[in-house]
């Protein structure tokens, strides 16, 4: 089962510079595990140590933000196209407050990471 994954510039150091890689898996979690096996370290840039989707990236399944498709539990099918983009955010607000704001925005079945 082949799923095409578009990788942003900032993560291409994990894919030998490749912009598009292929992976397999029937959920986003399974796909990320498969990608990490081929591109060691990629998982750590997509998933937090607490097991949630990293707030620094947006992941899309076809044309939808995966946060609205069940996040890491999103179901995938052969032929799906995954796009990873760096989340563009920032501002004068302190980091912990910004993180808490973002963490509360998206429905997730994983607890938000505790601010550090």
């Amino acid at each position: 089962m082949a799923i095409e994954v578009r990788v942003p510039t900032i993560l291409r150091s994990y894919t030998g510079g490749a912009k598009i890689v292929e992976g397999a898996g029937d959920t986003l979690t399974a796909l990320i595990d498969d990608l990490d096996a081929k591109h060691n370290g990629l998982k750590g840039r997509l998933i937090t140590p607490e097991g949630g989707l990293h707030r620094f990236v947006n992941i899309y399944v076809n044309d939808e933000d995966v946060r609205f498709l069940g996040a890491l539990d999103a179901k995938l099918s052969d032929g799906d196209s995954i796009t990873i983009l760096p989340a563009v955010a920032g501002g004068a607000l302190g980091f912990a407050a910004a993180a808490a704001l973002l963490g509360s925005r998206y429905p997730s079945n994983h607890p938000a990471a505790a601010p550090n």
Partner: protein, 157 residues
């Protein structure tokens, strides 16, 4: 002036320590920041891949609608990033405003900076009669300020 110096193959894009940008684009960025004040404004200036020249201004919604935080709407971002891909463009400039503090990247800005090839342009609108506009590279958490070389008529405005 030509700024298209080839970078080393291992570098992220162009490594010139100057942002060359058309005055009409600078004016439009400042106008956007003024319009959205006191909320933070944000957007992108796309340019041909490898050119290091920002040519197409794309004001983005601040999905956070906040005076201290900005965030691209994820669906708008997908559409705009695909459009750039189709046009063989890349985000040459990513800009946002600080509305009560200086035009210098905050810790939040540095944490989120995910386009190592982009110039991060900050505008401060804290003074009502003047703007502070500065440009930075943010790569692996390291902030490097660069000069802004404002030129006329590199694009049709």
């Amino acid at each position: 002036m030509s700024v298209a110096t080839p970078g080393s193959p291992n570098s992220h894009g162009n490594v010139n320590d100057v942002l060359t940008i058309d005055s009409a684009i600078v004016d439009a960025i400042v106008a956007h920041a003024r319009r959205d004040h006191p909320d933070e404004a944000c957007g992108v200036v796309a340019g041909p891949i490898g050119s290091d020249l920002p040519t197409r201004l794309i004001p983005m919604d601040n999905a956070a609608r906040s005076m201290t935080f900005y965030e691209f709407d994820s669906m708008e971002q997908l559409r705009v990033w695909r459009e750039m891909d189709d046009n063989d463009e890349e985000p040459v400039v990513i800009y946002h405003s600080h509305t009560a503090t200086e035009a210098y990247p905050s810790r939040t800005d540095i944490s989120f900076a995910g386009e190592p090839g982009a110039h991060y342009v900050l505008v401060s609108t804290r003074e009502s009669d003047s703007e502070e506009i500065r440009s930075f590279r943010i790569v692996d958490g390291v902030v490097t300020e660069e000069e802004i070389n404002i030129v006329d008529a590199t694009v049709d405005a």
